[in-house]
Symmetry: C2
Subunit: 301 residues, 2 copies
Amino acid sequence: MTDTDINADWIAVDWGTSNMRAWAMSASGTVLAEATSDQGMGKLTRDGFEPALLDVIADWIQGPTTVIACGMVGSRQGWVEAPYATVPSGTLPEGLVQAPTTHPALTVHVIPGIKQTNPPDVMRGEETQISGFLARNPGWDGVICLPGTHTKWVHISADEVVSFQTFMTGELFDTIAKHTVLRHSIAADGWDDAAFAEGLDLGIARPERLAARLFALRAQGLLNDMVGNAARAQLSGLLIGAELAAAKPYWLGQQIAVIGNSTLSKLYVDALATQAAPATQVNAATITLAGLTAACRRLKG
Amino acid sequence: MTDTDINADWIAVDWGTSNMRAWAMSASGTVLAEATSDQGMGKLTRDGFEPALLDVIADWIQGPTTVIACGMVGSRQGWVEAPYATVPSGTLPEGLVQAPTTHPALTVHVIPGIKQTNPPDVMRGEETQISGFLARNPGWDGVICLPGTHTKWVHISADEVVSFQTFMTGELFDTIAKHTVLRHSIAADGWDDAAFAEGLDLGIARPERLAARLFALRAQGLLNDMVGNAARAQLSGLLIGAELAAAKPYWLGQQIAVIGNSTLSKLYVDALATQAAPATQVNAATITLAGLTAACRRLKG
């Protein structure tokens, strides 16, 4: 099957800062085709979004086509600003915002993010994953953890986002590994389960010592020839451990789901297990598409 | 007076990762001339050190001249490796190491750093500042804080370094401000005392929340138009607060001296004052030269 055989009923788009992913969908909800692009929001100016989208989906358009998009595409620096809903909020906020288009057959709707005033916090894209999860798990109450560059902990009750808190854990990991003196000590990839477990214990028990533990990783490299795999895994453990210590009011005694890429999600599930907090791991891409599908159904009535 | 009038009895050199600073000294300990260079250890290969030094001091050499150097010049990537002494250690460790030279009148001695096995830690350069401080304050016992890229807390007793702990606070500040999403929220300079105080309180009270507080700075920029000066000061407060929380076993109930650049040292002194821990502020450059002078006196008997 070539792309010219595709006739999408609608198109689902997950458009983040770094990448974009699109699915051609049938009216019955089957995936007809799927494609990705590295033209993330961060690389585009406002008038660059429509051409970047058409680069990916043009062959799927045989007639008037609705696109439903979530993520940073709706930020102030995105295609069109989709103003945040405010907690407590349904996970599919009202008020999809239409993006300006020139292609005659294209209508693009952007899903708004959700904000919280106190403490101040924002999400864009995660609300769609959460609504996808709830579409698959009706009536589910508990806490959803969405690990990533900016990990979110979200309290869900009665199909609403009650409150949430974001941790810059993933971005701290990348930045510390690449842009500090630890770049000499930390391998670009590789892993060591024992070093992760040690970092996790230290991070949970003494989260305030993070800046000291970071330098200790460097000193261990100099004095004890600590290998780069172990340093990498221990850094991850320290950061996730400190996050779990701070997020305890979210996860303690709650039903927990972890939505994210499989490697990172498994780290969180395993880390929570050490705290006697069982969590269910959920695939992010599947659940994002489920959320975009729910938004499309509501739009089309 | 031009440099050609200088006839140094010896030359003091503080050679760090980023910069180098040299003083032409008389036999009686007077500073005859002073110069700096951006040829730090990080920019040089092993055979680049002598030319980089001569660029700065050649005019001061009228006959056989001793150079005493401290800092990263003695690291494995430096001019010559000056192996670490181990705590407990005198602040002027035995075993100056001579660097290889080709200039017939030049003899270069490098001061070793100090290491600690458990928890693993290292210092290079700070030992010289500490010995300078003790030369000026004989018999002083207490804790010395040396704020900077890698802030050190050092327990001094009976003229020895008993133990120490390094925090990557300064490097975290720079890296987070420049290389994360907070670069959009944080001003390149500027300050706000109230925002620093708020960050300090949060950092001391709930250090485990650092990764969440960082994202909250971003959210406050998006939602509340928090200004860049305030975000910059609050980030500094959060990081220094978390450090003080972790370093409490060092400073609690101790006599405290803070040695560093004046702006940063004042932040630490003021922060300690909020914890009812009075500290004396000491100028770093003066005290480094005092330490190099003490090393020269011991070398020359």
